[in-house]
């Protein structure tokens, strides 16, 4: 079941939540809508579900225009951030709800409903809780029941609105992997909204990065991570060091330090630029390996699980640099606070324009 969004625009009283969104989603894909809070990603999801109407634009499900269909006729499953389980119904009745409200000609028989609900609850590993009420379940359990409930009506599309954000880190990670596995089993076209780049990178077939009501970039996790379209995407997909400098005739100037500009920006005349480097792509060494290395002083050392975080003050740069190196490397170099090291900036991304973080 493919989804096509054409020129979707949604305005609220004082601001534009979605500005001319165009997006194609292939059948069976698992898509992440990734963006900061307030960027419009949840609104987009609610529009696809029919819970909101766009001011203009069309939504096509399987090439059929469903823009103005009421939500109950759209046949989409929706999973809410705060579960939205029916508090007066037990787990079984919650999952059976979508089947029991069908017009009687389409409604499965009692025993079929029983069978289907049991099957779904087994799928989400909640079959033991059939007679429980939502309030007797943990957050992760509730969300799994909510998922079973959404799947009960055989939705053509599954929409998940920040499904794991209300859960604690450990459960979140577990459910993430579990959802990935579930998607491989049932292959229903799914869109999930998240502000967590790790979640998007780990789960999605394709990531759509949204900011201020617009799509900044779409692509596989690899593409988005390795070839970010702009400074926003690069910054949003992980920790970064930002250097504000100038670009001129193939050279980027940072403080009193210069290096070659990337190929596509070679011909630019004098312009402000931002250069980005990810902390884990910074090389730390005792010996200078090239002229472009910077001399830095270690100001702070932090333990980050398997990695060591270094805060470095570099000659010629006004802002400190954050670097992450493997713990082993750190031990081999016998580094400590206050020592001087050579800093190599690998895979520097240079963007021009006046983007601000």
């Amino acid at each position: 079941m493919g989804i096509e969004l054409r020129n979707i625009t949604k305005k609220f009283a004082t601001y534009t939540a979605l500005d001319n969104i165009n997006l194609n989603i292939n059948s069976g894909e698992l898509i992440a809508l990734l963006g900061p809070s307030g960027c419009g990603k949840t609104t987009l999801l609610r529009i696809i579900a029919g819970l909101e109407l766009p001011n203009s634009g069309q939504i096509l499900l399987d090439n059929k225009d469903t823009t103005n269909l009421p939500p109950r006729k759209k046949n989409v499953g929706f999973v809410f951030q705060h579960y939205a389980l029916f508090r007066r119904l037990n787990v079984f009745e919650n999952v059976a709800f979508g089947l029991k409200v069908l017009p009687w000609r389409e409604r499965p028989s009692r025993s079929e409903i029983q069978k289907r609900v049991e099957h779904l609850l087994t799928l989400v590993q909640m079959e033991w809780a059939m007679k429980r009420y939502p309030s007797q379940l943990s957050g992760g359990q509730r969300q799994r029941v909510a998922l079973a409930r959404a799947l009960a009506v055989n939705p053509k599309v599954l929409l998940l609105d920040e499904p794991f954000s209300a859960l604690d880190a450990k459960v979140r990670q577990e459910l993430r992997r579990w959802l990935r596995k579930l998607h491989e089993e049932i292959h229903v076209t799914s869109i999930f909204v998240t502000h967590d780049q790790e979640e998007a990178l780990e789960l999605a077939d394709r990531i759509v990065v949204v900011n201020k009501g617009r799509i900044e970039q779409e692509g596989t996790p690899q593409e988005v991570y390795d070839q970010p379209a702009n400074a926003f995407v690069y910054n949003f997909l992980g920790n970064v060091n930002v250097f504000h400098g100038r670009i001129n005739k193939g050279k980027v100037t940072l403080g009193n330090h210069q290096f070659d500009a990337p190929e596509e920006l070679k011909n630019l005349e004098e312009k402000p630029s931002q250069s980005f480097v990810r902390p884990h792509e910074i090389g730390i060494s005792r010996i200078q390996s090239s002229d472009s290395d910077l001399l830095g002083t270690i100001r702070e050392v932090r333990l980050l699980g398997g990695q060591i975080g270094l805060n470095l003050e570099c000659e010629g740069l006004d802002l400190p640099i954050e670097a992450e190196i493997p713990r082993e490397h750190y031990i081999n170099l016998q580094l400590a606070r206050g020592e001087k090291v050579y800093v190599t900036l690998n895979r520097v991304k240079v963007f021009t324009g006046d983007y601000e973080i």
Binding site: A49, G50, L51, P70, P71, R72, K73, K74, N75, V76, G77, F78, F80, H82, A84, L85, F86, R87, R88, L89, F97, G98, V101, L102, Y133, P134, S135, A146, R149, A150, A152, V153
Partner: protein, 288 residues
């Protein structure tokens, strides 16, 4: 490296914040004084007066035809007003909490108007609106419909005065519950009436009952507004409170208090129902 330095806290948690003893005693004493002066004593007096001339006189006072008519009218009014206001209140609460529309805030504050306005003024409003000297009233009169000085007027006045109870009970409840469950139901294919019957109504049923109990208590006891529109016709437009007042002004104290004791019984019944519902509320919020 980390040593277990903190000991487990003692099993009995002593309350750190507690008012001094004399403050507690003073407050409890004041409250008891108030309750004695304004509730226990008057209550005792009502019954003492009511039974002053004995059990048989008491029974006679409440079985006398005019009293019976007043009781019937009060029960009829309540039976009409409470369901109607349950429906109105539910619609108002539904509209205010589930939709967005212009003038929503204004509507929400207007809901309190019947509480803010003196009941006598409320009664007068209806006399001015549909009294026999007004164009609308005389038009109704020509068609044989009498509102003021008859039962419809009493019902309308009571409707107005008791309108806010259900809505005021439901609005905070429905606001706290949000629209999530309804939205989930609609994406699962449910129709409006199914959502209302299976999801919304069960979620608010205790609040609704609570509002209806308060509404009945007020409709039974309403005096001011009803007094203006009723015309005090014995055996026809007298409700229990009006009947009590008439007996009292005729110096028939014992009969007056006998009938008044019925109102006290109804009030006590309301309080009991109300507190048992409150207990259920608590159990419910604990369980679900």
């Amino acid at each position: 490296m980390l040593k277990q330095t903190t000991q487990a806290s003692p099993p009995v948690l002593k309350k750190r914040i507690s008012d001094p003893r004399w403050v507690q005693i003073l407050l409890i004493g004041l409250m008891l004084l108030f309750f004695t002066g304004f509730i226990f004593l008057p209550l005792a007096l009502v019954f003492a007066q009511a039974f002053q001339k004995g059990w048989s006189f008491y029974l006679e006072s409440i079985r006398e035809p005019y009293a019976v008519e007043a009781i019937k009218l009060t029960l009829l009014t309540t039976a009409v007003v409470v369901p109607l206001n349950a429906v109105f209140g539910l619609s108002a609460a539904w509209a205010i909490t589930k939709f967005n529309f212009a003038g929503k805030t204004a509507l929400k504050s207007l809901l309190d108007l019947p509480f803010a306005v003196s009941p006598v003024i409320a009664g007068l409003i209806f006399v001015l609106l549909v009294g026999s000297r007004t164009p609308f009233g005389s038009w109704l009169g020509e068609h044989g419909i009498k509102i003021i000085f008859s039962t419809p007027g009493i019902i309308i006045a009571t409707l107005f005065v008791t309108f806010p109870f259900v809505a005021r009970e439901l609005i905070p409840l429905m606001e706290a519950q949000g629209r999530d469950e309804e939205e989930a139901a609609v994406t699962l294919g449910a129709r409006g009436w199914q959502i209302f019957g299976i999801i919304t109504l069960p979620n608010i049923r205790l609040g609704l009952l609570y509002g209806m109990i308060l509404c009945s208590a007020r409709s039974i006891g309403e005096f001011g507004a009803v007094s203006v529109v009723s015309g005090h016709i014995r055996g026809q437009t007298n409700t229990i409170p009006l009947h009590v007042e008439i007996l009292y002004s005729e110096y028939n104290f014992t009969a007056s208090f006998a009938v008044a004791s019925l109102l006290v019984f109804l009030a006590l019944l309301t309080v009991v129902l109300k507190s048992s519902l409150e207990k259920q509320f608590q159990n419910n919020s604990l369980e679900h």
